[in-house]
Protein backbone atom coordinates (compact mmCIF):
# COMPACT_ATOMS: atom_id res chain seq x y z
CA UNK A 1 0.00 0.00 0.00
CA UNK A 2 2.81 2.43 0.75
CA UNK A 3 4.34 4.52 -2.03
CA UNK A 4 7.61 3.11 -3.21
CA UNK A 5 9.45 6.36 -2.54
CA UNK A 6 8.44 6.42 1.13
CA UNK A 7 11.20 6.18 3.67
CA UNK A 8 11.14 2.62 4.96
CA UNK A 9 9.49 1.52 7.13
CA UNK A 10 6.67 3.75 5.90
CA UNK A 11 4.39 5.81 8.09
CA UNK A 12 1.61 3.33 7.30
CA UNK A 13 3.72 0.39 8.38
CA UNK A 14 4.75 2.08 11.60
CA UNK A 15 1.16 3.00 12.41
CA UNK A 16 0.16 -0.62 11.86
CA UNK A 17 2.92 -1.91 14.13
CA UNK A 18 1.95 0.47 16.91
CA UNK A 19 -1.71 -0.48 16.59
CA UNK A 20 -1.01 -4.22 16.65
CA UNK A 21 1.15 -3.87 19.74
CA UNK A 22 -1.49 -1.89 21.57
CA UNK A 23 -4.22 -4.30 20.55
CA UNK A 24 -2.23 -7.36 21.51
CA UNK A 25 -0.47 -6.34 24.68
CA UNK A 26 -2.20 -3.31 26.16
CA UNK A 27 -5.94 -3.41 25.46
CA UNK A 28 -6.46 -6.86 27.06
CA UNK A 29 -4.90 -5.58 30.28
CA UNK A 30 -7.27 -2.63 30.63
CA UNK A 31 -10.68 -2.66 32.30
CA UNK A 32 -13.59 -2.29 29.86
CA UNK A 33 -15.53 0.98 29.87
CA UNK A 34 -12.69 2.87 31.48
CA UNK A 35 -10.95 6.10 30.59
CA UNK A 36 -7.74 4.33 29.65
CA UNK A 37 -9.50 1.76 27.49
CA UNK A 38 -11.70 4.35 25.80
CA UNK A 39 -8.84 6.63 24.84
CA UNK A 40 -6.81 3.71 23.61
CA UNK A 41 -9.64 2.39 21.44
CA UNK A 42 -10.05 5.79 19.84
CA UNK A 43 -6.28 6.06 19.38
CA UNK A 44 -6.41 2.77 17.46
CA UNK A 45 -9.12 4.19 15.22
CA UNK A 46 -6.88 7.17 14.51
CA UNK A 47 -3.88 4.94 13.82
CA UNK A 48 -5.93 3.02 11.25
CA UNK A 49 -6.90 6.34 9.69
CA UNK A 50 -3.29 7.53 9.66
CA UNK A 51 -2.28 4.31 7.97
CA UNK A 52 -4.92 4.72 5.27
CA UNK A 53 -4.16 8.40 4.77
CA UNK A 54 -0.45 8.04 4.47
CA UNK A 55 -0.90 5.39 1.81
CA UNK A 56 -3.56 7.02 -0.33
CA UNK A 57 -4.30 10.60 0.59
CA UNK A 58 -2.39 12.47 -2.08
CA UNK A 59 -3.75 10.67 -5.16
CA UNK A 60 -7.23 11.00 -3.71
CA UNK A 61 -6.80 14.74 -3.32
CA UNK A 62 -5.70 14.98 -6.94
CA UNK A 63 -8.68 12.90 -8.07
CA UNK A 64 -11.10 14.93 -6.00
CA UNK A 65 -9.75 18.22 -7.34
CA UNK A 66 -10.15 17.05 -10.92
CA UNK A 67 -13.69 15.86 -10.29
CA UNK A 68 -14.75 19.06 -8.55
CA UNK A 69 -13.24 21.18 -11.32
CA UNK A 70 -15.02 19.21 -14.03
CA UNK A 71 -18.33 19.26 -12.19
CA UNK A 72 -18.28 22.98 -11.47
CA UNK A 73 -17.13 23.81 -14.99
CA UNK A 74 -20.01 21.89 -16.54
CA UNK A 75 -22.50 23.34 -14.06
CA UNK A 76 -21.21 26.79 -14.84
CA UNK A 77 -21.89 26.25 -18.53
CA UNK A 78 -25.37 24.91 -17.86
CA UNK A 79 -26.37 27.84 -15.66
CA UNK A 80 -24.58 30.55 -17.63
CA UNK A 81 -27.73 31.99 -19.13
CA UNK A 82 -29.82 31.90 -15.93
CA UNK A 83 -30.19 35.38 -14.43
CA UNK A 84 -31.07 33.95 -10.99
CA UNK A 85 -27.70 32.21 -10.94
CA UNK A 86 -25.58 35.34 -11.20
CA UNK A 87 -24.26 35.27 -7.64
CA UNK A 88 -23.73 31.54 -7.75
CA UNK A 89 -21.77 31.79 -10.99
CA UNK A 90 -19.55 34.47 -9.50
CA UNK A 91 -18.78 32.16 -6.58
CA UNK A 92 -18.04 29.23 -8.86
CA UNK A 93 -15.82 31.44 -11.05
CA UNK A 94 -13.90 32.60 -8.00
CA UNK A 95 -13.27 29.02 -6.88
CA UNK A 96 -12.32 27.81 -10.35
CA UNK A 97 -10.09 30.83 -10.79
CA UNK A 98 -7.88 29.97 -7.85
CA UNK A 99 -4.38 29.02 -8.94
CA UNK A 100 -4.21 25.28 -9.45
CA UNK A 101 -1.29 23.69 -7.60
CA UNK A 102 1.29 21.91 -9.74
CA UNK A 103 0.15 18.34 -9.32
CA UNK A 104 3.60 16.84 -9.49
CA UNK A 105 5.05 18.91 -6.69
CA UNK A 106 2.19 20.31 -4.64
CA UNK A 107 1.99 19.56 -0.95
CA UNK A 108 -1.14 17.72 0.19
CA UNK A 109 -2.15 20.80 2.15
CA UNK A 110 -2.15 22.93 -1.02
CA UNK A 111 -4.29 20.41 -2.85
CA UNK A 112 -6.63 20.22 0.12
CA UNK A 113 -6.97 24.00 0.37
CA UNK A 114 -8.02 24.28 -3.26
CA UNK A 115 -10.37 21.32 -2.98
CA UNK A 116 -11.96 22.92 0.06
CA UNK A 117 -12.62 26.12 -1.90
CA UNK A 118 -14.10 24.11 -4.75
CA UNK A 119 -16.22 22.05 -2.36
CA UNK A 120 -17.59 25.24 -0.81
CA UNK A 121 -18.66 26.34 -4.28
CA UNK A 122 -20.21 22.91 -4.79
CA UNK A 123 -22.16 23.39 -1.57
CA UNK A 124 -23.57 26.63 -2.92
CA UNK A 125 -24.38 24.96 -6.23
CA UNK A 126 -26.22 22.13 -4.46
CA UNK A 127 -28.27 24.50 -2.32
CA UNK A 128 -29.07 26.69 -5.31
CA UNK A 129 -30.05 23.72 -7.47
CA UNK A 130 -32.47 22.29 -4.91
CA UNK A 131 -34.01 25.74 -4.45
CA UNK A 132 -34.41 26.36 -8.19
CA UNK A 133 -34.83 22.91 -9.70
CA UNK A 134 -38.57 23.34 -10.24
CA UNK A 135 -38.31 26.75 -11.88
CA UNK A 136 -35.26 28.67 -12.99
CA UNK A 137 -33.06 25.61 -13.33
CA UNK A 138 -35.72 23.14 -14.43
CA UNK A 139 -34.21 22.64 -17.89
CA UNK A 140 -30.87 21.41 -16.62
CA UNK A 141 -31.52 20.43 -13.00
CA UNK A 142 -31.71 16.72 -13.89
CA UNK A 143 -28.19 16.92 -15.30
CA UNK A 144 -26.95 18.75 -12.20
CA UNK A 145 -28.50 16.11 -9.97
CA UNK A 146 -26.76 13.48 -12.06
CA UNK A 147 -23.47 15.26 -11.55
CA UNK A 148 -24.08 15.39 -7.81
CA UNK A 149 -24.84 11.67 -7.79
CA UNK A 150 -21.59 10.96 -9.57
CA UNK A 151 -19.70 13.08 -7.09
CA UNK A 152 -21.41 11.31 -4.18
CA UNK A 153 -20.40 7.90 -5.42
CA UNK A 154 -16.77 8.87 -5.88
CA UNK A 155 -16.57 10.91 -2.67
CA UNK A 156 -18.10 8.10 -0.65
CA UNK A 157 -15.55 5.67 -2.07
CA UNK A 158 -12.73 8.05 -1.18
CA UNK A 159 -14.20 8.41 2.29
CA UNK A 160 -14.25 4.66 2.77
CA UNK A 161 -10.68 4.36 1.56
CA UNK A 162 -9.56 7.00 4.04
CA UNK A 163 -11.30 5.23 6.89
CA UNK A 164 -9.24 2.12 6.23
CA UNK A 165 -9.48 -0.43 9.00
CA UNK A 166 -11.02 2.19 11.29
CA UNK A 167 -14.46 1.01 10.13
CA UNK A 168 -16.15 -1.07 12.78
CA UNK A 169 -13.61 -0.40 15.50
CA UNK A 170 -15.09 0.79 18.79
CA UNK A 171 -14.29 4.38 19.76
CA UNK A 172 -15.25 4.32 23.44
Amino acid sequence: MSRSNDVQPSVAELARVIARTLETYVIPELPRSSWSSGYLHSALVLLAHIEARSAGERPMLVEEGAQLTALLSEARGLAAATPEARELLAEIDAALGLPAPALATAEAAELDARNTALARALNSLIVWTYAHKAAAASAYAPRLLELFAGYRTAAAARGVALLGDAVGKPIF
Partner: protein, 360 residues
Protein backbone atom coordinates in the same frame (compact mmCIF):
# COMPACT_ATOMS: atom_id res chain seq x y z
CA UNK B 1 -5.27 22.95 14.26
CA UNK B 2 -3.80 25.45 16.71
CA UNK B 3 -1.30 24.41 19.29
CA UNK B 4 -3.10 24.08 22.57
CA UNK B 5 -2.10 26.64 25.15
CA UNK B 6 -0.25 25.10 28.06
CA UNK B 7 -2.51 24.76 31.05
CA UNK B 8 -1.62 23.99 34.61
CA UNK B 9 -4.52 21.52 34.73
CA UNK B 10 -4.99 20.36 31.13
CA UNK B 11 -7.58 17.67 31.87
CA UNK B 12 -9.65 19.77 34.27
CA UNK B 13 -9.17 17.30 37.09
CA UNK B 14 -10.63 18.36 40.43
CA UNK B 15 -8.56 17.88 43.55
CA UNK B 16 -10.41 16.57 46.61
CA UNK B 17 -8.97 19.08 49.11
CA UNK B 18 -9.93 22.00 46.85
CA UNK B 19 -13.41 20.60 46.28
CA UNK B 20 -13.85 20.05 50.04
CA UNK B 21 -12.89 23.65 50.76
CA UNK B 22 -15.28 24.93 48.12
CA UNK B 23 -18.19 22.75 49.23
CA UNK B 24 -17.61 23.64 52.89
CA UNK B 25 -17.88 27.30 52.00
CA UNK B 26 -21.06 26.83 49.98
CA UNK B 27 -22.79 24.52 52.47
CA UNK B 28 -21.64 26.39 55.56
CA UNK B 29 -20.55 23.18 57.24
CA UNK B 30 -17.28 21.26 57.21
CA UNK B 31 -17.09 18.83 54.30
CA UNK B 32 -14.81 15.81 54.30
CA UNK B 33 -14.58 14.06 50.96
CA UNK B 34 -14.49 10.27 51.16
CA UNK B 35 -14.37 9.67 47.42
CA UNK B 36 -14.27 11.78 44.29
CA UNK B 37 -14.68 10.06 40.94
CA UNK B 38 -15.19 11.30 37.41
CA UNK B 39 -17.86 9.42 35.45
CA UNK B 40 -17.02 7.70 32.17
CA UNK B 41 -17.14 8.64 29.33
CA UNK B 42 -18.27 12.20 30.11
CA UNK B 43 -18.05 13.18 26.49
CA UNK B 44 -19.81 16.55 26.47
CA UNK B 45 -19.13 17.72 30.03
CA UNK B 46 -17.40 16.47 33.13
CA UNK B 47 -19.39 14.89 35.92
CA UNK B 48 -17.74 14.22 39.29
CA UNK B 49 -19.38 12.02 41.90
CA UNK B 50 -18.64 13.14 45.44
CA UNK B 51 -19.20 10.98 48.51
CA UNK B 52 -18.72 13.21 51.49
CA UNK B 53 -19.44 13.83 55.12
CA UNK B 54 -21.14 17.16 55.55
CA UNK B 55 -21.04 18.19 59.18
CA UNK B 56 -20.41 14.53 59.93
CA UNK B 57 -23.47 13.32 57.94
CA UNK B 58 -22.91 11.18 54.82
CA UNK B 59 -24.05 12.93 51.64
CA UNK B 60 -23.67 12.30 47.94
CA UNK B 61 -23.19 15.28 45.66
CA UNK B 62 -22.57 15.58 41.93
CA UNK B 63 -20.49 18.35 40.42
CA UNK B 64 -21.05 18.90 36.72
CA UNK B 65 -18.80 21.32 34.90
CA UNK B 66 -17.38 22.27 31.56
CA UNK B 67 -14.02 20.81 30.63
CA UNK B 68 -11.15 23.30 30.18
CA UNK B 69 -11.70 23.36 26.41
CA UNK B 70 -15.43 24.06 26.75
CA UNK B 71 -18.43 21.78 26.39
CA UNK B 72 -18.83 19.60 23.29
CA UNK B 73 -22.42 20.73 22.84
CA UNK B 74 -24.13 23.91 21.65
CA UNK B 75 -25.68 24.85 24.99
CA UNK B 76 -24.17 26.42 28.07
CA UNK B 77 -24.12 24.74 31.46
CA UNK B 78 -26.47 27.49 32.61
CA UNK B 79 -28.96 26.12 30.09
CA UNK B 80 -28.66 22.67 31.61
CA UNK B 81 -28.96 24.08 35.12
CA UNK B 82 -32.12 25.93 34.15
CA UNK B 83 -33.66 22.68 32.87
CA UNK B 84 -32.96 20.94 36.20
CA UNK B 85 -34.34 23.87 38.15
CA UNK B 86 -37.60 23.86 36.24
CA UNK B 87 -38.07 20.08 36.20
CA UNK B 88 -37.39 19.65 39.91
CA UNK B 89 -40.70 18.94 41.61
CA UNK B 90 -42.53 17.94 38.43
CA UNK B 91 -43.60 14.44 37.37
CA UNK B 92 -40.25 14.03 35.67
CA UNK B 93 -37.71 12.80 38.20
CA UNK B 94 -34.41 14.67 38.30
CA UNK B 95 -31.74 15.03 40.95
CA UNK B 96 -32.29 17.98 43.24
CA UNK B 97 -30.37 20.93 41.79
CA UNK B 98 -28.46 22.74 44.55
CA UNK B 99 -26.62 25.63 42.94
CA UNK B 100 -24.96 27.01 39.83
CA UNK B 101 -21.64 28.81 40.02
CA UNK B 102 -18.92 30.41 37.94
CA UNK B 103 -15.52 31.94 38.52
CA UNK B 104 -14.38 29.59 41.29
CA UNK B 105 -10.63 29.06 41.64
CA UNK B 106 -10.89 25.36 42.47
CA UNK B 107 -12.41 24.79 39.01
CA UNK B 108 -10.24 27.36 37.22
CA UNK B 109 -13.27 29.57 36.84
CA UNK B 110 -15.25 27.07 34.82
CA UNK B 111 -19.04 27.08 34.98
CA UNK B 112 -20.29 24.37 37.33
CA UNK B 113 -23.47 23.13 38.92
CA UNK B 114 -23.98 20.95 41.96
CA UNK B 115 -26.86 18.55 42.40
CA UNK B 116 -27.71 15.99 45.01
CA UNK B 117 -26.66 12.45 44.17
CA UNK B 118 -29.51 10.04 43.49
CA UNK B 119 -28.98 6.48 44.57
CA UNK B 120 -28.75 4.21 41.53
CA UNK B 121 -26.64 3.88 38.43
CA UNK B 122 -26.52 4.64 34.73
CA UNK B 123 -26.02 0.97 33.92
CA UNK B 124 -28.50 -1.79 34.77
CA UNK B 125 -27.20 -5.16 35.94
CA UNK B 126 -28.75 -8.09 34.09
CA UNK B 127 -30.11 -5.97 31.25
CA UNK B 128 -28.54 -8.06 28.51
CA UNK B 129 -29.05 -11.46 30.12
CA UNK B 130 -30.50 -13.92 27.56
CA UNK B 131 -33.04 -15.27 30.03
CA UNK B 132 -36.72 -14.78 30.78
CA UNK B 133 -35.74 -12.59 33.71
CA UNK B 134 -33.54 -10.53 31.41
CA UNK B 135 -36.38 -10.12 28.92
CA UNK B 136 -38.74 -9.04 31.69
CA UNK B 137 -36.19 -6.51 32.91
CA UNK B 138 -35.73 -5.12 29.40
CA UNK B 139 -39.46 -4.64 29.02
CA UNK B 140 -39.65 -2.99 32.42
CA UNK B 141 -36.82 -0.61 31.55
CA UNK B 142 -38.45 0.35 28.25
CA UNK B 143 -41.80 0.91 29.94
CA UNK B 144 -40.11 3.03 32.58
CA UNK B 145 -38.19 5.04 30.06
CA UNK B 146 -41.12 5.56 27.73
CA UNK B 147 -43.26 6.59 30.69
CA UNK B 148 -40.76 9.23 31.77
CA UNK B 149 -40.30 10.54 28.23
CA UNK B 150 -44.08 10.77 27.91
CA UNK B 151 -44.24 12.67 31.20
CA UNK B 152 -41.55 15.06 29.99
CA UNK B 153 -43.26 15.62 26.67
CA UNK B 154 -46.58 16.25 28.38
CA UNK B 155 -45.34 18.98 30.70
CA UNK B 156 -46.67 22.51 30.32
CA UNK B 157 -43.39 24.06 29.24
CA UNK B 158 -44.81 27.56 29.09
CA UNK B 159 -46.05 27.43 32.67
CA UNK B 160 -42.68 26.03 33.81
CA UNK B 161 -40.82 28.91 32.18
CA UNK B 162 -38.93 26.99 29.51
CA UNK B 163 -39.77 29.65 26.97
CA UNK B 164 -37.66 32.07 28.99
CA UNK B 165 -34.38 30.43 28.04
CA UNK B 166 -35.06 28.11 25.11
CA UNK B 167 -36.26 29.36 21.73
CA UNK B 168 -39.62 27.80 20.92
CA UNK B 169 -40.97 26.97 17.48
CA UNK B 170 -43.82 29.25 16.39
CA UNK B 171 -46.26 26.32 16.28
CA UNK B 172 -46.41 22.55 16.62
CA UNK B 173 -46.70 22.22 12.85
CA UNK B 174 -43.44 24.11 12.44
CA UNK B 175 -41.54 22.30 15.21
CA UNK B 176 -39.44 20.06 13.00
CA UNK B 177 -38.80 22.83 10.46
CA UNK B 178 -37.66 25.08 13.32
CA UNK B 179 -35.27 22.42 14.61
CA UNK B 180 -34.01 21.75 11.09
CA UNK B 181 -33.33 25.43 10.36
CA UNK B 182 -31.42 25.99 13.60
CA UNK B 183 -29.11 23.03 13.17
CA UNK B 184 -28.49 23.59 9.47
CA UNK B 185 -27.33 27.14 10.23
CA UNK B 186 -25.20 25.98 13.13
CA UNK B 187 -23.66 23.15 11.10
CA UNK B 188 -22.71 25.56 8.31
CA UNK B 189 -20.84 27.71 10.85
CA UNK B 190 -18.97 24.95 12.66
CA UNK B 191 -18.27 21.98 10.39
CA UNK B 192 -14.60 21.20 9.87
CA UNK B 193 -14.88 20.99 6.07
CA UNK B 194 -17.59 21.64 3.46
CA UNK B 195 -19.10 18.11 3.50
CA UNK B 196 -21.00 18.46 0.16
CA UNK B 197 -22.61 15.05 0.64
CA UNK B 198 -24.16 16.23 3.88
CA UNK B 199 -25.23 19.47 2.22
CA UNK B 200 -27.16 17.52 -0.39
CA UNK B 201 -28.59 15.21 2.26
CA UNK B 202 -29.90 18.26 4.11
CA UNK B 203 -31.35 19.75 0.92
CA UNK B 204 -33.09 16.45 0.21
CA UNK B 205 -34.29 16.04 3.81
CA UNK B 206 -35.51 19.63 3.81
CA UNK B 207 -38.07 18.60 1.19
CA UNK B 208 -39.48 15.94 3.52
CA UNK B 209 -40.05 17.68 6.84
CA UNK B 210 -43.30 16.46 8.44
CA UNK B 211 -45.69 19.00 9.91
CA UNK B 212 -47.99 16.69 11.87
CA UNK B 213 -46.30 17.27 15.23
CA UNK B 214 -49.16 17.11 17.74
CA UNK B 215 -47.71 19.59 20.23
CA UNK B 216 -44.58 21.41 21.20
CA UNK B 217 -42.79 19.54 24.00
CA UNK B 218 -39.69 19.70 26.10
CA UNK B 219 -37.29 17.44 24.20
CA UNK B 220 -34.55 15.85 26.26
CA UNK B 221 -32.00 15.17 23.53
CA UNK B 222 -29.64 12.22 24.05
CA UNK B 223 -31.47 9.88 26.41
CA UNK B 224 -31.77 6.32 27.64
CA UNK B 225 -29.66 3.82 29.51
CA UNK B 226 -26.24 5.33 30.00
CA UNK B 227 -27.70 8.78 30.57
CA UNK B 228 -30.45 8.37 33.16
CA UNK B 229 -30.20 6.99 36.68
CA UNK B 230 -31.93 3.66 37.27
CA UNK B 231 -32.48 1.77 40.51
CA UNK B 232 -34.03 -1.70 40.66
CA UNK B 233 -35.18 -1.35 37.07
CA UNK B 234 -36.89 1.98 37.77
CA UNK B 235 -35.88 5.26 36.23
CA UNK B 236 -35.31 7.43 39.29
CA UNK B 237 -33.64 10.48 37.72
CA UNK B 238 -33.28 11.81 34.21
CA UNK B 239 -29.84 13.30 33.76
CA UNK B 240 -27.69 15.34 31.41
CA UNK B 241 -29.88 17.81 29.60
CA UNK B 242 -27.20 19.35 27.41
CA UNK B 243 -29.30 18.97 24.28
CA UNK B 244 -32.67 19.84 25.79
CA UNK B 245 -34.84 21.90 23.48
CA UNK B 246 -38.44 22.71 22.67
CA UNK B 247 -39.87 20.82 19.72
CA UNK B 248 -41.23 17.46 18.63
CA UNK B 249 -40.91 14.71 21.25
CA UNK B 250 -40.51 12.13 18.49
CA UNK B 251 -36.86 13.18 18.32
CA UNK B 252 -36.32 11.61 21.74
CA UNK B 253 -37.60 8.26 20.47
CA UNK B 254 -34.86 8.31 17.85
CA UNK B 255 -32.15 9.45 20.29
CA UNK B 256 -32.64 6.80 22.96
CA UNK B 257 -29.22 5.19 22.52
CA UNK B 258 -30.69 1.79 21.80
CA UNK B 259 -32.86 1.77 24.92
CA UNK B 260 -36.12 1.51 23.01
CA UNK B 261 -34.64 -1.35 20.99
CA UNK B 262 -34.48 -3.49 24.11
CA UNK B 263 -37.88 -4.71 23.00
CA UNK B 264 -39.24 -4.65 19.43
CA UNK B 265 -39.06 -0.98 18.46
CA UNK B 266 -42.64 -0.91 17.18
CA UNK B 267 -43.82 -2.06 20.62
CA UNK B 268 -41.90 0.75 22.26
CA UNK B 269 -43.46 3.29 19.93
CA UNK B 270 -46.90 1.86 20.69
CA UNK B 271 -46.22 2.21 24.42
CA UNK B 272 -45.25 5.83 23.82
CA UNK B 273 -48.44 6.47 21.86
CA UNK B 274 -50.51 5.00 24.67
CA UNK B 275 -48.65 6.98 27.31
CA UNK B 276 -48.95 10.30 25.48
CA UNK B 277 -52.34 9.78 23.89
CA UNK B 278 -50.83 10.92 20.58
CA UNK B 279 -50.04 9.17 17.33
CA UNK B 280 -46.52 8.86 15.99
CA UNK B 281 -46.79 8.94 12.23
CA UNK B 282 -44.30 6.81 10.29
CA UNK B 283 -43.10 9.97 8.55
CA UNK B 284 -42.25 11.74 11.81
CA UNK B 285 -40.46 8.68 13.11
CA UNK B 286 -38.56 8.28 9.84
CA UNK B 287 -37.59 11.94 9.79
CA UNK B 288 -36.45 11.74 13.41
CA UNK B 289 -34.34 8.65 12.73
CA UNK B 290 -32.53 10.38 9.87
CA UNK B 291 -32.33 13.69 11.64
CA UNK B 292 -30.77 12.33 14.81
CA UNK B 293 -28.05 10.69 12.76
CA UNK B 294 -27.26 14.08 11.24
CA UNK B 295 -27.54 15.81 14.61
CA UNK B 296 -25.03 13.40 16.12
CA UNK B 297 -22.66 14.22 13.28
CA UNK B 298 -23.24 17.94 13.81
CA UNK B 299 -22.33 17.51 17.47
CA UNK B 300 -19.25 15.36 17.11
CA UNK B 301 -17.81 17.28 14.19
CA UNK B 302 -19.21 20.73 14.90
CA UNK B 303 -18.54 20.73 18.64
CA UNK B 304 -16.27 17.92 19.88
CA UNK B 305 -13.92 18.11 16.92
CA UNK B 306 -14.23 21.89 16.84
CA UNK B 307 -12.93 21.92 20.40
CA UNK B 308 -9.98 19.82 19.35
CA UNK B 309 -9.18 22.09 16.40
CA UNK B 310 -9.67 25.37 18.21
CA UNK B 311 -9.69 25.06 21.98
CA UNK B 312 -7.04 22.59 23.02
CA UNK B 313 -9.23 19.51 23.50
CA UNK B 314 -6.73 16.70 22.97
CA UNK B 315 -8.93 13.66 23.54
CA UNK B 316 -8.47 10.96 20.95
CA UNK B 317 -12.19 10.23 21.15
CA UNK B 318 -12.96 13.67 19.75
CA UNK B 319 -10.56 13.22 16.86
CA UNK B 320 -11.83 9.73 16.12
CA UNK B 321 -15.47 10.77 16.24
CA UNK B 322 -15.11 14.15 14.59
CA UNK B 323 -12.72 13.13 11.86
CA UNK B 324 -13.07 9.45 11.17
CA UNK B 325 -16.63 8.59 12.10
CA UNK B 326 -17.93 11.79 10.50
CA UNK B 327 -16.87 10.36 7.15
CA UNK B 328 -18.73 7.14 7.83
CA UNK B 329 -21.90 8.96 8.87
CA UNK B 330 -21.61 11.25 5.85
CA UNK B 331 -21.67 8.23 3.57
CA UNK B 332 -24.69 6.77 5.37
CA UNK B 333 -26.59 10.02 5.00
CA UNK B 334 -25.60 10.35 1.35
CA UNK B 335 -27.11 6.93 0.62
CA UNK B 336 -30.53 8.32 1.60
CA UNK B 337 -30.60 11.05 -1.05
CA UNK B 338 -33.29 10.59 -3.66
CA UNK B 339 -35.22 7.97 -1.72
CA UNK B 340 -38.59 8.49 -0.10
CA UNK B 341 -38.46 9.25 3.61
CA UNK B 342 -39.58 5.84 4.84
CA UNK B 343 -37.26 3.88 2.58
CA UNK B 344 -34.36 6.11 3.55
CA UNK B 345 -34.99 5.61 7.24
CA UNK B 346 -34.86 1.86 6.72
CA UNK B 347 -31.20 2.28 5.85
CA UNK B 348 -30.67 3.39 9.44
CA UNK B 349 -31.77 1.09 12.21
CA UNK B 350 -33.35 2.96 15.12
CA UNK B 351 -30.32 2.07 17.21
CA UNK B 352 -27.15 3.88 16.35
CA UNK B 353 -28.51 7.27 17.22
CA UNK B 354 -26.12 8.10 20.03
CA UNK B 355 -22.61 9.42 20.19
CA UNK B 356 -21.40 6.08 21.44
CA UNK B 357 -23.17 3.90 18.96
CA UNK B 358 -22.00 6.12 16.12
CA UNK B 359 -18.70 4.49 16.75
CA UNK B 360 -19.90 0.90 16.58
Amino acid sequence: MDDAPLRTNPTGRIAAPDAARYLSGKLGRPVEIESLKQTYPGFSRQTWLVQARVGGEPQGLVIRLDPPWGASVPTSLKHEWSVYQRLWGTAVPVAEPLWYDEGQDFAEGRALMVRRMVEGGSTIPGLTEPTAAGAALRRQVVEEHVGKLAALHGLDWKALGFGGFIAAPPSAAEALRFEYDWWVRDWADRRSEPFPLVTEFLCWLGEHIPSDTPRVSIVKGNNGVGEEIFRDGRLVAMSDFELASLGDGVLDLAFSQGTLDLIPYADAVRLYEQATGTTVSPERLAFATLWIRFKSLANVNGYAFYGLRNHGDFRTTCAALGLVMSKGVQNTLAACIGKDLLSASQLLAPRGSSYASLAR
